[in-house]
């Protein structure tokens, strides 16, 4: 049933990954940044599942599981930080956070 070839899957993952990365680069809102990180992690997980599908072994999916766990952890701490960020800097704009430089 898998007429889909490996590289198509990987290309899809790559595209999603790259879109996430561009979001990270351009959007100044911290929440969106966290979302973009989630997109990139999801794309990486997708790549792993595609790889697993190629070899027909469960390794890919196990790795996806771990990526999932890591993403969840990341979001939890990220959002907590976002709340703290808004309280101390007033806005969720990432560019405000440039007090330390030089």
């Amino acid at each position: 049933m898998a007429a889909v070839s490996l590289d198509h899957g990987l290309i899809l993952a790559a595209i999603l990954f790259v879109i996430g990365f561009v979001g990270l680069l351009t959007r100044r809102n911290l929440i969106v940044a966290l979302a973009c990180i989630e997109i990139m992690l999801n794309a990486a997980g997708l790549a792993f599942v595609v790889a697993g599908a190629r070899w027909g072994s469960a390794d890919g999916q196990v790795m996806f599981l771990f990526v999932l766990a890591m993403a969840a952890a990341e979001v939890a701490v990220g959002l907590a930080l976002a709340i703290r960020f808004r309280q101390s800097l007033g806005r969720l704009d990432v560019d405000d956070a440039d007090e330390m430089k030089g």
């Binding site: 993952a13 990270l24 990526v67 890591m70 990341e74 701490v77 990432v94």
Partner: protein, 480 residues
């Protein structure tokens, strides 16, 4: 998973149980002293378990981890470093009026992450170890919370760590897609081909993995976060990031690349060389006229990683010993340097600007002596273990005839002299300016002891490094 494996896993088990115990204790009775005591007991247990684990043969525990003497040595190193950071944090957190218990839990989980990284031979354990370490660090960096700098540093670290982890995983996926193996032993033949010609995907995968590794090691071009995080984070956490997180990742890199003898023509070698040179040059140049001591230490840690990469590239029989020895020296020196910064920091403001260190020799003589010894060790001056470390690195480099790299190392480390001595001048030559708010109270008992012990380590092994070298040689011998 046989019962024997459990004994081999003892160190990890100890490192897992300790944070849980600290958490339970905190649930019943919130006391800073109790938390620290439990942490130290846990770390001591880990070290004892190392010796127990060392007695068992048959080291590979599930494809994920392998506990050879190399891993055990590094776990020991990380544990000792964590213990030092914990004690240094005691006086730091004492005056911060913030719940200290979570700090120690996170410290222990981070060390667990490090331990997993050191022992990992599989992508899964590599990824998980890295993430446990990172996630624990997010909270540690922002721990005192009440100042914008902490939040800013944590956000930067989190976003960048998240992004680079995504690259890491994507790289792993590509490698797995092409080769089907995720273990270090499986990758060795591929790596030794130096990523030339045919399987471009694997090359792509490896490079993407290096992004994740590069971020953690803070080598150029992934070093941008370092100065801000070191400046923003509390001093003990800065020490932790500079030592344990970098050391663990480098140990893993060494394990993966140890069986691979990169020939100097291959593209991977050239990438590493370019990164090393860039780190050495940028690290030293950025710190040239820097007035913030924490940022100077950050840039100097970038430069030191550049030196480490030179030894890593040497890949001769000397390389592993050189890398490990330099790492041990780097650990001790950085802990002393950050320990002094932590000891002098006040709740209002960390002791980071150069003016805080004016005339320190007069006001607080022994701290100044410790900091001077650390700075001279960073600069690689004799009588300090830094000198032996740098000498060992240059020897390894010379052994592998990496002349270009060594000459860059030599020239950039003389630039380094300039900014290290600027601090020394501030401490010894300048007069303390009265109007500056007085630097922190006298150095607390615990951190004073740690600083004294580490400074002694710097000098003793600076003069007579032979026993340390023998220990490292025995540890490295077991690498495949």
């Amino acid at each position: 998973m046989t019962s024997g494996d459990l004994i081999t896993l003892l160190p990890l088990i100890a490192l897992t149980v300790t944070p849980v115990v600290v958490m339970l204790a905190a649930a019943f009775y919130r006391s800073h002293a109790l938390a620290l005591a439990l942490t130290l007991v846990g770390l001591a247990a880990t070290i004892v378990s190392l010796f127990v684990a060392a007695t068992r043969t048959g080291r590979q525990v599930t494809p994920l981890l392998s506990f050879d003497t190399y891993a055990l040595f590094y776990i020991g190193l990380l544990t000792v470093a964590t213990a030092a950071v914990a004690i240094l944090s005691w006086s730091y957190l004492q005056r911060r009026h913030v719940h200290p218990e979570e700090y120690y839990m996170l410290l222990l989980t981070a060390t667990l992450g490090g331990a997993v990284l050191v022992a990992s031979t599989h992508f899964a354990s590599f990824f998980l170890g890295l993430e446990i370490l990172s996630v624990s660090l997010y909270a540690l960096i922002v721990y005192p919370i009440y100042r914008d700098q902490f939040v800013e540093a944590a956000v930067k670290y989190l976003v960048l760590a998240g992004a680079t982890s995504a690259f890491l995983v994507f790289g792993m996926a590509l490698v797995y897609a092409e080769t089907g193996t995720m273990t270090a032993s499986g990758l060795a033949p591929i790596l030794s081909a130096g990523l030339g010609g045919q399987d471009v995907v694997v090359a792509l995968g490896i490079v993407l993995i290096l992004v994740g590794v590069g971020f953690k090691l803070a080598v150029v071009p992934f070093h941008m976060w370092t100065p801000d995080v070191y400046q923003g984070a509390p001093a003990p956490v800065g020490a932790y990031v500079a030592t344990v997180s970098k050391g663990a990742v480098l140990a893993l890199l060494l394990r993966y690349f140890w069986p691979v003898s990169l020939d100097t023509g291959s593209s991977l070698f050239l990438v590493f060389a370019a990164v090393a040179i860039a780190s050495m040059v940028a690290g030293n140049l950025l710190a040239l006229r820097q007035d913030n001591v924490k940022r100077i230490l950050a840039y100097s840690s970038i430069a030191n990683l550049g030196y480490l990469l030179v030894a890593f590239l040497a890949a001769g029989e000397q390389a592993a010993v050189a890398v490990t020895f330099f790492l041990v020296a780097y650990f001790a020196t950085t802990l002393v340097a950050f320990g002094v910064v932590a000891a002098l920091s006040t709740p209002e403001r960390d002791a980071e600007s150069m003016d805080d260190y004016r005339g320190l020799a007069r006001t607080r003589r022994w701290t100044a002596v410790a900091f001077t010894v650390a700075l001279f060790s960073l600069a690689g001056m004799p009588l300090t273990v830094g000198f032996m470390g740098k000498f060992y690195v240059v020897t390894a480099g010379a052994g592998a005839a990496l002349w270009a790299l060594i000459i860059v190392l030599v020239l950039t480390s003389t630039i380094g002299l300039y900014y290290y001595t600027r601090i020394v001048v501030a401490m010894w030559v300048r007069q303390p300016d009265e109007n500056a708010d007085a630097v922190g109270a006298a150095v607390g008992g615990g951190s004073a002891a740690v600083l004294a012990a580490l400074t002694a380590f710097l000098i003793v092994f600076g003069v007579y490094p032979a026993p340390l070298i023998q220990l490292i040689e025995r540890a490295v011998a077991t690498l495949p």
